[in-house]
């Protein structure tokens, strides 16, 4: 890279856990209800109300932390993070401060197109907290009313904080894609960014090499990014902007306060919001209303065993055990657990992982996409695709006609035998084929002479004639036999 700096990126991701009810009360977490209809005295902080931890939320966070290779301490507790805001009805958020439920993990990222070498992105910590409500500012027609919706208040969030280990927008994007895939695999979140189930903030600065010294620029936090693509674009915009700013001001890390900038997706720029003059004092202290959570090592082990194969494990299995390219493995794994299961069924039963991969990544995925179906709804079950591959491999089904058979199986919901019958495709007996080729050679002495003089490509001219006589012949075999028989005749 020719640019004179390295971009240093750390991400903070808030993930809404897929629980039915809120973190400290039994209100529903369903998205889209009428404002303030999913509330109770506990989540709106009525005097005298008390929180009770939703065990399910803790289990989901534990699952995630284990999948992120985090250490899970035996003891974790709840803290109050105190600040005033109208959508924070208690005047504090129940969160975790100095003893989070997990820390020191990592997530492996790679790029199938090799834009960057595979790497581990460190996870500083992942902790559970409750969400705040939503402020709606209605400034239309000169009004300045603010309205508060507390439906979201108390929804369980897992805050995942990465190390500043990413060095490009592509790496950040890969981290988010891989994280989302992982969370989907272990079914802890629906990761829907539109509904706020997954939110990303980025911390960015530059390391600039100058006169043999490394200069770090002030850290900027970017907010308001509403898609992974927006994160990528914001980071691509922000790095050169910081470089220009450094060239103008020469300001280094520590010489300017940490700045928060908002991403404007339409204009494609980040804009300064407010400077944090000093870090806010949230006056954290342990929440006396909640007991600490004790997680015995055995529970962590049980969670680890229950996780099953994660995306990284599956990729490894597919490339090492099935000899797939990283690219193909990635395509399969990114489609989710059940598609990988489908592939494995076909690969194992057919004994031909390469053909299985071609069929699944090309034909199956294309049809699923067109039909907007999931693999569980797909019309060609794994055993039938195995039958199709077997028919191709044993020569019953010429590979050129296989797509036709596949379409018919899909359309009729039939197996390969029925498709072959319908298409009148029959296996051509080897002796009949030899007779056919011998007839053709006899009728085409020029071709025989060409082959004998070493022009083997001349054999191709017989394929069309052979197919005319019998549409089921395997073109490759015709060519092979023509060369073999013509050469024998000349010897």
């Amino acid at each position: 890279m020719s640019q004179p700096y390295t971009t240093v990126i750390g991400l903070e991701v808030h993930v809404q856990l897929a629980t039915e009810s809120k973190l400290f009360c039994r209100c529903s977490t369903k998205f889209g209800a009428e404002p303030n209809t999913q509330t109770c005295p506990v989540c709106i902080g009525m005097p005298g109300s008390l929180p009770v931890m939703n065990r399910r939320a803790y289990e989901l966070s534990l699952k995630t932390a284990v999948a992120l290779n985090c250490n899970i301490p035996e003891f974790t507790k709840w803290d109050r993070k105190q600040y005033y805001y109208p959508d924070l009805p208690k005047g504090y958020q129940i969160s975790q401060f100095d003893l989070p439920m997990s820390a020191d993990g990592y997530l492996e990222i790679s790029d199938p197109k090799d834009k960057f070498p595979p790497k581990r992105v460190g996870i500083i910590r992942a902790h559970l907290e409750e969400d705040a409500g939503k402020s709606v500012h209605d400034e239309a027609a000169g009004k300045a009313d603010s309205e508060i919706d507390l439906n979201r208040t108390g929804t369980p969030l897992l805050e995942i904080v990465s190390q500043p280990d990413m060095r490009s927008a592509a790496e950040a994007r890969a981290f988010l894609d891989e994280l989302k895939l992982l969370l989907t695999y272990i079914a802890v979140s629906d990761c829907n960014m539109q509904e706020g189930s997954l939110r990303v903030d980025a911390n960015v600065n530059l390391h600039i090499e100058k006169d043999g010294k490394r200069i770090a620029t002030p850290i900027v936090e970017i907010k308001n990014m509403n898609s992974f693509r927006a994160v990528e674009r914001a980071l691509e915009y922000e790095a050169p902007r910081q470089y220009r700013e450094w060239q103008e001001t020469g300001r280094q890390l520590g010489e300017a306060p940490k700045q928060t900038r908002g991403w404007d997706d339409v204009a494609g720029v980040t804009r300064g919001q407010r400077s944090k003059e000093e870090s806010s004092d949230y006056r954290y202290f342990p929440d006396p209303d909640l007991a600490p959570v004790i997680t015995p090592a055995a529970e962590v082990d049980a969670v680890r065993e229950s996780l099953g194969e994660l995306p990284a494990d599956l990729r490894r299995r597919l490339t090492e055990g099935y000899a797939l390219s990283l690219y193909d493995a990635d395509v399969l794994v990114n489609q989710g657990k059940s598609l990988v299961g489908y592939y494995l069924d076909v690969a194992n039963a057919s004994g031909d992982p390469k053909s299985a991969c071609n069929w699944v990544t090309q034909h199956v995925l294309r049809e699923l996409k067109e039909r907007e179906q999931s693999i569980d709804q797909f019309g060609v079950a794994a055993p039938r695709l195995v039958g199709l591959i077997a028919a191709v491999n044993d020569g019953t089904l010429p590979s050129t006609r296989a797509p036709e058979a596949f379409q018919l199986m899909l359309a009729k919901g039939c197996d390969v035998t029925a498709a072959l019958a319908e298409l009148k495709i029959e296996r051509v007996d080897e002796s009949a084929l030899v007779t056919l080729v011998q007839e053709l050679l006899a009728a085409n002495p020029k071709t025989v002479a060409d082959i004998q003089s070493g022009k083997l490509q001349a054999a191709a001219s017989l394929i069309g004639q052979a197919k005319k006589k019998n549409p089921n012949v395997d073109p490759n075999r015709v060519r092979e036999l023509a060369i073999e028989l013509a050469s024998q005749a000349g010897a």
């Binding site: 902080g45 005097p47 929180p51 009770v52 005033y84 006056r283 954290y284 202290f285 209303d289």
Partner: protein
């Protein structure tokens, strides 16, 4: 002996035999309130019609032979800090003067289940912060034994109501002594259970790790009766203890054989009123005469209790009271002039050349918070919020809050050690009898020291009881405190009952004298 002079236990028997109806009893209490509460000020609100309706309904159920709860027909007064569905829970604060809770606290729910008659809501120090009930935003409460004096606090209304025989039973809360101290100063029985024994759900929080609900009555038996009604595990309170509640009333009359009683030398140091000291020593002699072995046990860290308490309790309070911001419920300061006011402030600063300061003038939202909290809270509440916010601030946390937690652990350890040697610890509740109203309002530190003998039980989470053990020459009650290991309420009540059975102090009741406008008796 008039109806209202009888204990709750006796009244329950009369009600059971229909010798007395709940309506008659409730009416007698209402009459008593009518006659004396203008002087005493124990109640913030009395809903006589609702109480009589409840009483009549219970009488009907009794006549129909229906199953009745354990307090059927007994009037109970409740401190105005426990939510009672759809009625006001003010915490004696302007902030919640009009606040109606949409739900029942667990304790109020249990009282309703027990068929108690909820006769009224009692006065208290605002948000339970104080030791004299003078911090109520609405009215002071006066001591029935001497109306120029305090009943103590913060549950002063609940203690005075029982002492003045306006209700046979009442509910209080105790964060640093707020049940035991007023019980002592009013000559009745008051008990703070083990932390977690009684649910805090629906108790408006002052200091969550210290707050505990408990009973007032004129006898230990009555306290046992009310405690066994309100105690028990509550899944809605994560700090509630999951242990069965013993039947305290069934065992209370069994004396403790071979009782080993601990006396703490530090409790008899400088500052203890001589009359209180001699009454407590006399009480110890009575225990000896009942066969108890008395032993000195040290509680070396007790002297740091008040200091630790006044870091921990305000810290939690500063957080618990943050929700009173005028946004969602409760009081909100009038904002009609806010925008003009802010504009004027900005102009004035700009005119004075202070442009930076002009930029820092409050936003309308922040001004609303500020003026709401300024007008909604009284001075003691503000003082504690400031103390707590300071103690939790970055840079001070370790020196104050964390240090106080360490002291708290040491105090608990002292008790654990002491209870290896003795069954109960006996001592004074307060250093002196009831003080004059207004005597300490300008001296918050002196007021904080009133909690000297009581805060340790809250910090350690152990149960403790206050019961009458004497009267001063001036005619003021003196209280005796007993403390027990965690969850040993049964032992505590039986030990207290031994003393009560051997003495007549609990049979004394105040002669209430009306006071004139100058507060002179």
């Amino acid at each position: 002996m008039s109806i209202v002079d009888r204990s709750a236990t006796e009244l329950l028997k009369s009600l059971a035999t229909s010798e007395l109806t709940s309506v008659e009893l409730t009416q007698a209490c209402l009459d008593r309130i009518e006659r004396h509460d203008a002087t005493i000020g124990a109640f913030l609100r009395v809903d006589g019609a609702r109480a009589l309706d409840q009483a009549a309904a219970i009488d009907r159920k009794r006549r129909a032979g229906e199953k009745l709860g354990p307090l059927a027909g007994l009037p109970v007064a409740v401190k105005d800090v426990l939510c009672d569905r759809d009625t006001i829970t003010s915490c004696a604060s302007r902030m919640l003067a009009e606040f109606r809770s949409p739900y029942d606290s667990t304790v109020v729910g249990k009282l309703k289940q027990a068929d108690a008659v909820l006769i009224g809501r009692t006065n208290m120090d605002e948000f339970a912060m104080g030791g004299s009930t003078e911090n109520s935003a609405f009215q002071p409460t006066r001591n029935p034994w001497d109306a120029t004096r305090t009943p103590g606090g913060s549950s002063g209304g609940s203690a005075a109501a029982v002492a003045a025989r306006m209700a046979p039973l009442s509910i209080g809360t105790d964060t640093g002594g707020s049940i035991r101290q007023p019980a002592g100063l009013c000559g009745i029985v008051g008990m703070k259970p083990t932390y977690g024994r009684v649910s805090r759900f629906g108790l408006v929080a002052f200091a969550s790790s210290l707050d505990q609900v408990g009973p007032f009555g004129t006898t230990t038996e009555d306290a046992a009766l009310l405690l066994e009604t309100i105690a028990g595990h509550d899944p809605r309170d994560s700090t509630s203890i999951n242990q069965p509640t013993p039947r305290y009333t069934e065992s209370i009359n069994k004396p403790l054989a071979g009782l080993k009683l601990g006396v703490v030398p530090e409790h008899f140091g400088a500052g203890l009123d001589p009359e209180v000291a001699s009454s407590v020593r006399a009480a110890i002699e009575i225990y000896k005469s009942l066969g108890a072995e008395v032993k000195e046990v040290p509680l070396p860290h007790g002297k740091y209790g008040v200091a630790a308490y006044y870091v921990i309790a305000p810290s939690e309070a500063s957080s618990n009271l943050a929700r009173y911001d005028g946004v969602h419920y409760g009081f909100r300061a009038d904002q009609s002039g806010t925008l003009a006011e802010l504009a004027a402030e900005r102009q004035e600063l700009i005119a004075a050349g202070k442009t930076a300061a002009a930029d820092n003038v409050d936003s309308p939202l922040v001004r609303m918070y500020r003026s709401t909290r300024e007008a909604g809270f009284g001075p003691e509440v503000k003082r504690r919020i400031m103390l707590g916010a300071y103690a939790l601030s970055a840079g001070y946390y370790d020196a104050y809050y964390l240090k106080a937690l360490k002291v708290r652990r040491l105090i608990r350890r002292d008790f654990d050690e002491a209870f290896k040697e003795v069954d109960l610890i006996v001592g004074p509740v307060t250093a002196g009898p009831a003080f004059k109203l207004g005597e300490m309002v300008d001296d918050p530190l002196a007021m904080y020291l009133v909690d000297l003998y009581t805060v340790s039980a809250n910090l350690a989470g152990i149960p403790a009881i206050s019961l009458p053990c004497g009267i001063t020459k001036a005619g003021l009650p003196i209280g005796l405190q007993l403390q027990a290991p965690p969850l040993e309420e049964e032992r505590l009540l039986r030990g207290a009952r031994m003393f009560e059975a051997a003495t007549d102090w609990h049979k004394m009741s105040p002669r209430i004298t009306r006071i004139d406008a100058n507060g002179k008796g």
